[in-house]
Structure formats: C-alpha cells, structure tokens
Symmetry: C2
Subunit: 125 residues, 2 copies
C-alpha cells in the first residue's frame, strides 16, 4: 500500500482529517502501520488514527488521553453513586424484613449491577 | 528542542517506551510537536504520547480508541443501572408516603447523582 492508497481511505471531503493525521503521525509512518494490517482492518485503523490525531491537534499536551482520564473519573463517580444507591436499597429491604418479623435471607437482596466493575486502572501514568 | 532533548524526557530505563513513540509518531514529528509546547508541558506530553504509542503497538487497528469505546460503554451501563436504582428508591419513597396517608411532596425525593451525566458521545465515528 502506498501513501496514495492511504489518502483514498480518507474521504476527499475531509481534507482536515488528512492534514491532522499527516501532522501528528506523518504519512510515511501511517503507511507503514497500515501495511502491517489486513486490508479489511485498514479503514477502521485510519478512522481511529484520525480520531487520535484530531484530539492531539485540539489538545497538544494530552491528546485523547484526556478523554480517557475524563471517562475513568466518570466511571468511578457513577460506580460510587450506584454502590450508595444499592446500599440504600439493601438497607430498606432489611428494614422491611425486620418490620415483618422475618429472619433476613442468607443472601443479600438483588441489586442493580455494580460492585464488580473494574473502574479506572486504564491509565498507568 | 532537539531529538536528544526529547530522548532525555524518556527515562533511559524505558527503551521500549522510546521505541514505541519512535515507531508510531516518529522522532521528528514528536520533536516538532514538543517544540510547539511550553517547557513545563513537555513531560506530560511525552507521557501521553508514550501511552498512546503503547496502546497502538498493542492494538494496531484501534490503539487507545478501544479504551475510550470500552469506557463509554461502561459509563452508559453504569448510568442505566444507577437510573434503575434511583427509580426503585423513588418508588419506595412514594409507597411509604402513600402508606403513611400523606400527600407526596412536590419535588422528587433526593436520589444518588445520575441523570444529568453526559454518557457517550465522545467517539464521533
């Protein structure tokens, strides 16, 4: 695959996309990278490179790593909120059982997902 | 800043880190990029470039964009679970109010976060 073929993978209506990829990765680096892939993988690879390049042009210090950090924090916050909501539901269920004069069941009542999700840890910086 | 100075920003104990950045972005592209930054921003930039480069070496098709997709799906799933847990808490609170023969309050009872978080939308592919 030559650089011209790489160019064809980026739509001619998207000159900025090509300019970003060219600026951040360099056409020859991208051509080398695409040559190591199977033909059917190349379009996805060009799209992900274009996404990364655009993010780096917008934020030259952190690039798309800032999106990863933002999403990691969002996952951690949501997980904490979900854990708190599930704890409330468990407490309410236990109170209802006690109010009805029953023994609590051996297993905790069903709750909404959570707990097992591995939040964070993507960014080993 | 010359390529030698860029090299110094990557610890000599991390030859693989340098090799990845060199392979994916090219030393001259990175040097150009770093020269457009303020000196105190360069170490963070090198670290984020090294993170992206390592992700691209591990996954040449999607690079760190796969981490973004994974985290976006995680955020969407957690947001749905949190919405469901909050809906349960609201239903229980309304039932308690009705059981006590009171009028429900004009505003919904406090719930755990959620609802307003903008899940997804990062990846405009």
């Amino acid at each position: 695959m030559h650089t011209a073929a790489f160019l064809r993978l980026i739509s001619p209506e998207e000159p900025q996309k090509f300019a970003n990829v060219h600026k951040i990765f360099g056409a020859s680096n991208v051509t080398k990278l695409l040559n190591e892939l199977l033909p059917h993988q190349r379009e996805d690879a060009v799209n992900s490179l274009a996404y990364e390049a655009e993010a780096r042009v917008r934020d030259p210090v952190y690039g798309c790593v800032s999106a990863i950090s933002f999403l990691q924090r969002q996952v951690e916050r949501l997980q904490k909120e979900l854990d708190a909501a599930n704890a409330d539901l468990i407490r309410i269920a236990c109170n209802d059982i006690q109010a009805a004069g029953l023994q609590p069941p051996p297993a905790a009542p069903p709750t909404h997902g959570g707990g097992a999700a591995a939040a964070g840890g993507w960014l080993g910086r």
